[in-house]
Amino acid sequence: QVSAALREGRVTPTELCQRCLSLIKSTKFLNAYITVAEETALKQAGESEKRYRRGQPLGVLDGIPIAVKDNFNTAGIETTCASNMLKGYISPYNATVVQKLLDQGAVLLGKTNLDEFAMGSGSTDGVFGPVRNPWSYSRQFKEKSVPKSHSEDEDSNWVITGGSSGGSAAAVSSFTCFAALGSDTGGSTRNPAAHCGVVGLKPTYGLISRHGLIPLVNSMDVPGILTRCVDDAAVLLGSLAGHDPKDSTTIQDNFKPFELPDLTDISKLSIGIPKEYHAPGLSSEILALWSKASDLFKNAGAKVIEVSLPHTRYSIVCYHVLCTAEVASNMARFDGLEYGHRSDTNKSTESMYAATRREGFNDVVRGRILSGNYFLLKQNYENYFVKAQKVRRLIANDFVKVFGSGVDVLLTPTTLSDAVPYMEFIKEDNRTRSAQDDILTQAANMAGLPAVNVPSGLSERGLPIGLQFIGQSFQEKQLLTVAKWFEKQVKFPMIQLEVKRHDHGAFQHQKSASFS
């Protein structure tokens, strides 16, 4: 919608950019952004405006404000991964996905907050502090909250965004940008998307370039897309997907951007409901919503069948081993010599590296590195690392079998519950939390399959609940077509944010939500 508005001149890119920047300032308490690139954003908006005036916009994304998770390299802009290790690091280049967006004329507003090095499921463990879920400040949530006594800080019961791409999800959810990039290794795009009520797409591994995305797990990482509606996600996908000679894990097949058709004949569709996703701890609300969704498809004429992915419950254990092992390897590059933090110790290379890493990494990162090294020790390699790789194959094969039996798309919940209050979340440590929260999203990363979170309803506490569709490899068009149909049926409510402007007026904010 907003793209059409730009083309018709109803709003200019500069106005759009300024409005977003102003909103970012008003929503600073969300802590969604680490860096706001105000000057460059306005410059980009200005160039876009010139193009529109000439009647030559670069495409649908020209002039659209976007945000990028702070683990993507952005030339000339600080990239920190929310870690002391990279504070002050100014990237010398743009990640391929960032470059592609800029080439289309998108306006880069800033870098969003995350868990340190994308390790976590709450966006609470970065050095810049936790990200707050915008829904904590929505009328829908406030109406359902038990009124607290006047003396208690009204602010103390805010809920988390989920993670690790929490900043990106919060930015999209609070209207400060029209789309954001996240990353997804175990659910890091879909989890915060579910908690913040936005669409979170994890593309097939190998479809979108990882060049410039600071790696966590090379065999599972993918850039993730966060938008307010499924059509927007398809547009973003269209501009980002495709072979990149700089990333040898991208496939060489020709990718053709697509528009999503409106599904009219559901009867040809086969939806699988994996019974193992009825995991222990799944809230009864989400279970009910999942059931309602499956009925929705059934009543529309689709074939809805229960299927089994027997190795689902080992997915999280498998991930734990493979992730820590790859992390141990990937984090080895941070030694203080070429970039990033460097300790003052100068006695020897090894002691300097050790001191640098001691000072630069937080507990979570250090813990994963040490665990990873343990699993990779000669005496443990077969029993843990190789074993996990074998289990990975079993998990991937489960999906192959199910899709091979005629199922088109799987429907599952995305999270076990709605967003928890921050004070409650921090009572458990990061690893325990990640193990709990990633359970429903992780397997898709194991198998490299595309998956998307679609906001599906509000919980009793007035917070978003999302449902997940998992598709077949490189079948994003089918996946998103189904997701779009479902999104239309569900009519997820718009967030009614109550934000005080920094000129001291309280107002309710509703803007045109999508750009396509």
Binding site: P245, Y353, R358, Y374, K390
Partner: protein
Amino acid sequence: QKVTVEVLDHLEHLALVDFRDAEGIERLQKAIQFADQLHEVNTDGVEPMDSVLEDRCLYLREDDVTEGNCTNELLKNAREKVEEYFVAPPGNIPLPKLEERETFLQGS
């Protein structure tokens, strides 16, 4: 089985990262316990999977230089440098042994 101090020390050497406190060591213990669940799965005859793209061929490209000449940009982010060199403290000096270095493990 608890992880021995020798192994913990070895890990600190390999990773060049410290456990810092009892919590750090406990974290590793719990991680191992968690990972042990893998042994419940029967993987006889199953090949390990390195990549989900294993059915595709890795491809090669021509050995032509297409990028480079960015020495200045690359040096910008380094703290210690001299002309076009990154400066490192002397190598070949291994991390001090357990008894001699500052580590939480000393007390164990």
